[in-house]
Amino acid sequence: MSEVITLIIVIGASALAVGLLVALNAFMGGWTRARLSDVTAAGERIGVDVLGFRPSPMATLDAERRTALVFEQGGARLGLAVCRGDKITVRALRPNELVSADAVGSELGLRLDDYTLPQVSLRLGDPTQAQRWVDDIKAFMSQADSKD
């Protein structure tokens, strides 16, 4: 019984230590939130992480410069760059990896068939732009249906 209590104390102390280390990290700062300077940089970044991805000019960046969408030349894949903390996470999506695309005002929302990145949203310049991207992405997604 005393072993169990010791174990609970050790685990509790470790959890507290984890919390304190994270708090110290947050308090000290020292990292900068990642930003994408423009759509060209976003396309290049996707090309670095996804070898062979060739960005096309059909691309957009959200107002925060934290998320970008870049169609590949030829339209086979939709490149996605998402800033997470001080790092950038990238996807080159095939049509069947997208679940839905919607626009609410100027906010473009995508749902992905991706367990660790199930949704992304981009605040674009205006509702028309967001709706145009929804239409383009839906047309892209329909390629998956036509292959079935």
């Binding site: 280390l21 990290n25 700062g29 070898l51 790092k87 996470t89 990238v90 660790t116 990145l117 199930p118």
Partner: protein, 307 residues
């Protein structure tokens, strides 16, 4: 049997102090990088690994107790036995680690350790939660017990091996004195192991001694002209520890369920990570080949025109 301490347990205070020191170094010099959500994820995975070790470690202990009587020799507790066990355990670690990168069933577990896009001392503690369930300890852990090394001695040297590997998870230390770089696993060598640059993929599996990589042809030196990009080929879009723990297991289940034949299912389960029947996904082999072809194109553009 001597009363051996648990080296990991003893080292925990040093781990905490060194993480704080590296955080301060990161803040003051910029020579390392920490981001709180990533740090939280890594440390939570480390804590969960310790808890799961308590809950699931009994499976491995039971197995080793079962096979201990079949040991070939009665090696005992001499000092040289410790030294030999440490060396042989490191060799076993090399192969176990190599298979953890080339068999998806084991990769599903080990991927957790590689899933941070950061490389700092907290990354060392980002460890999986379900390791005993992969039964890797049977395939790789049994050899030394069957040779006749006492299981407690093996557990002790294996823990020392893991403690050694903590300090090499840093960008704060560049290349070290050449003889050390030649023999030992160092921060430089292990940075390469955590990098996703195609040149660096599936390289430097060593635990303590890098000589195994040199011997078995998997060594790659870190290059100044190719800075490491850390993480996995398809980086995670989450800091959620449960998702970090489960993502590759769920992907395997999904692929196996969608398989059209038994051989396809086996490929998804036991094939290399990124394997697919039609080669449409990116395994390390495919990525390396694509990268090599691009390098050749760059150095000899006529090759592309000719093809």
């Amino acid at each position: 049997m001597p009363n051996l301490p648990d080296p990991i347990f003893v080292a925990i205070p040093a781990f905490v102090i060194l993480v704080i020191a590296e955080m301060i170094y990161a803040r003051t010099s910029g020579g390392a990088r920490y981001e709180p959500r990533d740090t939280a994820a890594s440390l939570t995975m480390g804590l969960g690994n310790t808890i799961s070790g308590v809950l699931l470690g009994g499976i491995a202990v039971y197995w080793f107790t079962l096979i201990e009587p079949f040991g070939l020799f009665d090696i005992g507790w001499a000092w040289w036995a410790f030294a030999l066990a440490f060396l042989l355990d490191d060799l076993v670690y090399y192969w176990s680690h190599r298979f953890a990168h080339t068999v998806r069933w084991w990769w599903a577990d080990h991927v957790v350790h590689h899933s941070s896009q950061h490389y700092n001392l907290s990354t060392a503690l980002r460890q999986p939660w379900l390791s005993p369930l992969t039964l890797k300890f049977i395939v790789f852990g049994s050899w030394l017990v069957l040779l006749g090394f006492p299981p407690a001695m093996i557990a002790f040297v294996a823990a020392l091996n893991l403690v050694y590997q903590f300090w090499i998870h840093t960008e704060a230390i560049g290349k070290m004195w050449a003889p050390i770089e030649w023999i030992m696993n160092t921060p430089s060598h292990h940075r390469v192991h955590h990098a996703t640059n195609p040149r660096y993929l599936d390289r430097n599996y060593a635990g303590v001694f890098i000589i195994w990589d040199r011997l078995f042809g998997t060594f790659e030196a870190e290059r100044k002209d190719e800075p490491c990009r850390y993480g996995i080929v398809r980086n995670l879009g989450t800091f959620n520890p449960i998702k970090i723990c489960l993502h590759e297991w769920l992907a395997i289940i999904r692929d196996v369920r969608g398989s059209k034949s038994v051989s396809e299912a086996l490929g998804y389960w036991l094939g290399p990570p990124g394997w697919s029947p039609d080669g449409s996904r990116d395994s390390s082999k495919i990525l390396k080949a694509r990268w090599k072809a691009r390098q050749e194109e760059k150095s000899d553009p006529t090759k592309v025109a000719a093809e």
